[in-house]
């Protein structure tokens, strides 16, 4: 349980400096030779209190490794990592008092226990008095829609229910810094939406609390995060608010026009303010992707098409997404950049 106070922890909820993590793996069980895998390569992150910070990257980018270091499960190879001003290596025990973690995509939990028993057990590890713990468990179970299942065995829960239970487990101790590692991976749309909604609600209701969320879902990062760091091959390659990242995309926003087939399109580049034209022909129609200096330029393009008596079937302004930003930075789409592909 936490009170806001002028005295106490460091200025930043999470801070890493030149964090490096190298795994040494044998090529096979018969092979004595080791290969080095650089999971984190000089990661610098600064997350102030109260922020919902997203770490976005493909599988194998280093997201989980960073979280494992921050929650004291893993030691860094070099560099430093601090949570609430505490060193995760030297002050691991103190760090654990302030944090909590929930990972997605796994079926964790003692299947023989009921939901309530399992949650009570974890509450005891954080020193919550039983009466307070049970009240909080019931309250949180109601919020995530799992109250009716409180006396069911964990083994009888669906994947989505189990993930909600684990979210409750993570929140029981009211952590100062909450680590969410791919919390919605493998969930159906409805369960994922519920979990995202509660994450947003929790951080809104608890000013000063901090969430570090890893995801490879662009939409999730855009919807939830105050700031997003894009991580690729163990390096942070961009870090800003989702809106700023989108703006930073060199392509910027663009217009998508579908017209009657154009026999000749060279004139489009001559329209004042048109920066770039990409054309492709689809089903006898022409799709024109236009980058313009400012939105008003599109009126000139439309006028020019009208002068040439070409019909316009659709006109859409497309804002760049984080996927575009990722593609621009990495040169591939997120799913193409997943490890092993």
């Amino acid at each position: 349980m936490w009170d806001e106070s002028p005295e106490g922890m460091g200025e930043l909820a999470v801070e890493t400096k030149n964090l490096v993590r190298i795994y040494r793996r044998k090529r096979s069980s018969q092979d004595s030779q080791e290969r080095q895998v650089i999971a984190l390569d000089g990661v610098n992150v600064e997350i102030p209190y109260g922020e919902l910070f997203g770490l976005l990257g493909p599988n194998g980018a280093g997201k989980t490794t960073l979280i494992k270091i921050l929650v004291t499960l893993l030691l860094p190879t070099s560099g430093t990592a601090r949570v609430a001003g505490l060193d995760v290596v030297q002050q691991a025990y103190q760090v654990r008092e302030l944090i909590s973690m929930v990972s997605g995509g796994e079926h964790s939990g003692y299947g023989l226990l009921t939901v309530r028993e399992q949650l009570w057990m974890f509450s005891q590890f954080y020193g919550l008095p039983t009466r307070l713990a049970l009240a909080r468990i019931d309250e949180l179970l109601k919020i995530v829609g799992l109250y009716e299942e409180r006396n069911r065995r964990v083994s009888d829960l669906s994947t989505g229910m189990r993930q909600k239970m684990n979210l409750v487990r993570g929140l029981l101790s009211d952590p100062l810094v909450f680590f969410l590692d791919e919390p919605t991976v493998g969930l159906d749309v409805s369960a994922a939406r519920d979990i995202r909604a509660y994450i947003k609600e929790w951080i809104r209701e608890k000013p000063g609390r901090t969430i570090l969320l890893t995801t490879h879902y662009m939409q999730e990062a855009e919807e939830l995060c105050d700031r997003v760091a894009i991580i690729h091959k163990g390096r942070i390659i961009a870090c800003d608010s989702p809106a700023a990242l989108r703006r930073s995309a060199a392509s910027g926003s663009y217009f998508l026009l579908t017209t009657e087939r154009l026999s000749e399109d060279g004139w489009l580049k001559e329209v004042p303010g048109v920066r770039r034209v990409d054309i492709r022909v689809l089903d006898g129609r022409t799709e024109i992707r236009l980058q313009v200096a400012e939105d008003g330029v599109i009126a000139e393009v439309v006028r020019a098409l009208a002068d040439r008596e070409r019909k316009i079937y659709s006109l859409t302004k497309v804002e760049p997404s984080l996927e575009d930003v990722f593609m621009q930075l990495v040169g591939r789409r997120m799913e193409e950049a997943d490890e092993g592909r």
Partner: protein
Amino acid sequence: MGVRAVRVSSERSLQRLWRTFAVAYWLGWQIESNWTDPLLFLIYSVIRPLGGVLILAVMFFVVARGARGPVLGFFVTGTAFWPFVVMAMQGMAMGVLADREHWKTLRYIYSAPISYRAYLVGRSLAQATSALAAMAITLLFGRWVLGIPLYFSTIRPLVLLPAFLLGIAGIVAMGLLITSALTWTSREAWRLPEAVGAALYLLCGVIFPTTVLPRGLQMLSMGIPLTWWLEAMRRGLLGEHALLSFPWASDARVLGTLAMLVAVWIIGAGFAFTCAEFRARALGILDQETGH
């Protein structure tokens, strides 16, 4: 400007240790007993040790051609106390493996603000509790059916009680040592506790006195607390009728040696676990599942 925080409710570390131990004990007992309904569990708790002791008794009578007396007493008491080793020592190690591989909770328990050692001890002793029934059933069967020389008059509480407590502490220390090895082990992890248990069964004077072992193995067995524990338990239960592995040693010497060995093994196991834990965190395999 960061929002700062202080802990509102803090617990003394001793309270936290106790709470962790108690909750781990509760969890261990739930896992041990909660897999079926209470009646079936009760029947299982009786039938299982009874079955075990019957098999061993038949083997004994075939090999010993119906011999009774001190040899049978030695055999029955060793069989009665061995489940503590199986349950508490192997149970601790198996518990860690189950947390890591089956329940997938190890990372959440480890990253909670607890003493992981207290957690392990709690899990181990929960398992040991279930060995109590096996011990009682085996001793009663030995006394009333096989006729071992166990009487109220032969029981010496001042030897038995300290020996029992020291032995449990030694078993927990040995469990911690095996658990240390398990934090590094992957594919063969499940076999390790059983392999160690089997070796100790042969070395520590469970069903035959260590005097029948080759000299080198005798020396080895004398460095293991279990050997002295079983010796002390037999002296405490059977008194003058006990067949001894160390007939030259007094009761006080047996207890003293046991206490010293337990202390050494506790310190060694604590050190080994600290090293193993650090190394597992360094290698990144603490919570990694089989196959790494």
